[in-house]
């Protein structure tokens, strides 16, 4: 009971916070289901549901009655908090302190019913959330899963409507679905119900039959499995290749940004995820790659006038070199000292390219323009849909290199250094070469990303390389899962792709970042997609000889 009250209080405070910083009001402009449920209401509802299910889950001994009572209590408290906010708002002018406490907010909170009707409504709403959470907790695992997946899909379709609508519109047969599924703002009621039923049915079937299918697949002969793997791989490549044509201009642009961050993330994943060297100045190598391309190719400066492909090897080489140069002074540093030193390095590079002294060579605050685009087979990579292929190739290459390195002598040496530097050295690992190699590899990936970035934009400015980029990359590596290659992909989509799609809420981006990081550290420190364990012992047949080689 105490626990339930505590969780309720936390939930209530969170709801009030969301309301007073204006998130609910901003989100209420968009509908999930037109004129019925707005995104703001969904947010309130989701937080309440989350907190009440937590309350039910934390019930000692899993007693069903107690769990239900706990969830109801927490829900009532959350509803009560919002009711208090509404009452307070009607008595005192909160707007003097909280500029977002507008009359419109109270209207949203009371579902346009006015205070008298709104307060009981809020309390009932809270209790209803608790009741739902309790029901969910008590229902079977299958039911819970199906319900969560299908509700999540409806909310997801509503949130990403701007993404889905133009995509469907490009495809003849699918464009019919647009009419049916989407209105001008949010899903139609029938569309939402239809989608819910469809996804529920699909996930139910998968939950029931999925194991059978998986067992069948595992039962295939090794050669058939190989064929299956290759087909899956080829299909995936095909999808990746036609993706920009399906998605259209805007989404391809988003994809290229995500792709650049994937490149950066994969590089930092080697430095931080594999070798455990916390590098907060990683943007420096991105800048070095971009500026190398700019200086080597731009006719504005007129030093070299190389083509993109002519300059790229130099850009990567300069990146590697600067990785070494940064690595040497910080070899003896660990943890926080290393973080501060690298942070300084990142700033030094940015300030150098900004400086007036170096302006004739690096362009100063005006940056460098007229950077030529890359050409592949005579075609200029100019539009996002074309640059996508360049970035895709880069990501595949860098991903492949990371994957090869991870399961090798070098990858193990990096991880050993991450786990315990002294013992790693006592096991015969040369710390100097191992650390420098990590810095250099990471820098090379980052420089590649910077090179593509420069050619994509056609110009480079010092302010594109501020410390927030470093922080963003660290965040996406942590959220995805440190040391995990697919984790970088997931992290980049979650922390870079999603905010690009939800541009209208950009002012809450950092807040959500912070909240997401804290939540990750508390609830899932291993990341969204942690590195799977390497099964090496049982890979091949056991040997019978029990004596080590000597």
């Amino acid at each position: 009971m105490k626990q339930a009250i505590k969780i309720g209080l936390i939930g209530g405070v969170v709801e009030i916070l969301l309301a007073l910083i204006g998130m609910i009001e901003a989100f209420s402009q968009r509908y999930i289901i037109i004129d019925i449920i707005s995104m703001g209401h969904t947010l309130i509802f989701l937080v309440a549901l989350l907190m009440t299910s937590l309350s039910a889950k934390r019930t000692p001994h899993g007693n069903p009655l107690r769990a239900m009572i706990n969830a109801l209590t927490s829900g009532l408290i959350i509803g009560g908090f919002l009711a208090v906010l509404v009452v307070m708002g009607s008595l005192v002018n909160l707007r003097k302190v909280f500029i977002n406490a507008s009359p419109l907010l109270y209207q949203w909170l009371t579902f346009n019913q006015g205070i008298k009707a709104g307060i009981p409504l809020l309390l009932t709403g809270g209790a209803l959330c608790g009741f739902l959470a309790g029901l969910l907790f008590l229902s079977s695992k299958l039911f819970r899963r199906v319900l969560i997946i299908s509700l999540g899909s409806v909310v997801g379709a509503g949130v990403l409507q701007d993404l889905l609508r133009p995509t469907f519109a490009l495809w003849g047969p699918l464009s019919v679905m647009n009419e049916w599924l989407f209105s001008a703002n949010g899903l139609t009621l029938y569309g939402a119900i239809g989608l819910f039923v469809l996804i529920a049915a699909l996930s139910y079937v998968w939950a029931k039959k999925g194991n059978v299918i998986r067992a069948n697949l595992n039962g295939l002969s090794p050669s058939n499995q190989r064929v299956l793997r290759i087909t899956t791989f080829l299909t995936l490549i095909m999808i990746l290749l036609v993706l920009p044509q399906i998605l259209g201009l805007f989404l391809s642009e988003v994809l290229t940004i995500v792709g650049l961050y994937v490149l950066l993330g994969l590089g930092l994943n080697i430095v931080v995820g594999f070798a455990g060297l916390l590098d907060l100045g990683y943007v420096a190598f991105f800048a070095i790659g971009a500026y190398s391309i700019a200086v080597l190719t731009s006719p504005e400066l007129g030093f070299f006038n190389l083509s993109f492909w002519g300059a790229l090897p130099f850009a990567i080489f300069i990146g590697v070199l600067s990785g070494f140069l940064l690595g040497i002074p910080v070899l003896k540093m660990r943890g926080d000292y290393l973080a501060i030193a690298t942070l300084g390095f990142g700033e030094i590079i940015r300030i150098l390219v900004l400086s007036d002294v170096l302006r004739p060579w690096l362009g100063g605050a005006q940056g460098i323009g007229k950077i030529p685009k890359a050409h592949i087979a005579g075609i200029e990579m100019a539009t996002p849909q074309q640059i996508y292929y360049l970035i895709l190739a880069g990501c595949l290459l860098v991903g492949f290199i990371s994957w090869r390195l991870r399961d090798s002598r070098l990858g193990r040496a990096w991880m050993a250094v991450r786990e315990d530097e002294d013992v790693a050295q006592a096991m015969g690992i040369n710390l100097i070469s191992t650390k420098l190699l990590a810095f250099a590899t990471g820098a090379a990936f980052s420089a590649l990303s910077g090179a593509i970035f420069a050619s994509k934009l056609g110009s480079v400015y010092p302010h594109s390389f501020n410390v927030m980029i470093s922080i963003n990359i660290i965040c996406l590596v942590i959220v995805g899962g440190m040391g995990s290659i697919p984790g970088v992909l997931v992290g980049a989509f979650a922390l870079v792709g999603l905010p690009e799609l939800l541009r209208e809420f950009a002012e809450y981006r950092l807040l959500v970042y912070g909240a997401a990081l804290v939540a990750m550290m508390l609830l899932r420190p291993e990341g969204l997609w942690p590195e799977p364990l390497q099964r090496r012992e049982l890979h091949e047949g056991e040997s019978s000889d029990a004596k080590p080689n000597h």
């Binding site: 002598r409 070098l410 991880m415 315990d420 096991m427 015969g428 690992i429 390497q534 000597h550």
Partner: protein
């Protein structure tokens, strides 16, 4: 002949003399134990041998090869590997990966060989995995190779640490309190295992130990340190009778009583 010798080796921390002009010779293929009260300088001596500390004076020689000034990774490549008093595995790597890290110095794959997947690299990796499995079996951890090191029970972790040290193919193995925290049965198994290592693989073993049962049971030579000085050396029986040792362990008054 001596595989390892220290001559007038001294290690100071500020004003404190941790090891004072230590002369010691470890005979090849012997089981040699260092004992002494807490703070006698035993682990400091280990750290000097393996290159973590640099002695202020004197020398350490491994097969007449001077060790002072070499980095730890060079020393392990010469053929000296160790375990730690408080187990220091790589906790988030699997048991198998821990052992493969131990093999690091014997693998040659370079950056481009790995990225390009050259046949030589793949062959080397395959052989390394094979040897890793053999070592797992040798330390009785078959079937636990894919578990994270931190999830293994205590006794398994101790054996895994020895397995990792063996992966470096040492000629001299330094064991820092291998039976710490073990019950009598586990202790007996560890004693048998240590003798097995020496008898089967011909590895010289230098260990630090507190349990007298182990010291007396398996050592051929015992060296006693007290306040960084060697106060006695000899067979277990000789040590048990030495008045200096009794004094160091039980204090001066006990002599008066006895």
């Amino acid at each position: 002949m001596a595989i390892l010798s220290a001559q007038k080796m001294t290690k100071r921390f500020g004003g404190l003399v941790a090891v004072d002009e230590l002369d010691i010779e470890i005979k090849e293929q012997s089981i040699h134990t260092i004992i002494g009260p807490n703070g006698a300088g035993k682990t400091t001596f280990f750290n000097c041998i393996t290159g973590f500390y640099r002695p202020e004076a004197g020398g350490i020689f491994f097969n007449h090869h001077p060790l002072v000034g070499l980095s730890p990774d060079r020393i392990v490549r010469l053929g000296i590997s160790r375990t730690y008093q408080n187990i220091r595995l790589f906790p988030n790597l699997t048991a198998m990966e821990n052992i493969l890290v131990g093999l690091h110095g014997h693998l040659k794959a370079g950056f481009f060989g790995i990225v390009l997947g050259l046949p030589a690299t793949q062959q080397e990796e395959k052989e390394a995995a094979e040897e890793g499995r053999r070592l797992l079996r040798f330390v009785n951890l078959t079937g636990k190779g894919d578990l994270l090191a931190k999830n293994l029970p205590y006794g398994d972790q101790r054996r895994l640490e020895i397995g990792r040290a063996l992966a470096a193919r040492p000629k001299l193995l330094l064991l820092d309190e291998p039976t710490a925290g073990m019950n009598p049965r586990e202790t007996q198994e560890m004693m048998d295992f240590i003798q097995h290592l020496r008898n089967e693989l011909g590895i010289t073993i230098l260990l630090i130990e507190h349990q007298m049962r182990v010291v007396m049971g398996i050592s051929e030579t015992v060296t006693v340190l007290d306040y960084g000085e060697k106060i006695a050396e000899g067979t277990p029986v000789e040590i048990q009778k030495s008045p200096k040792v009794i004094e160091a362990y039980l204090g001066r008054s006990s002599q008066v009583v006895s």
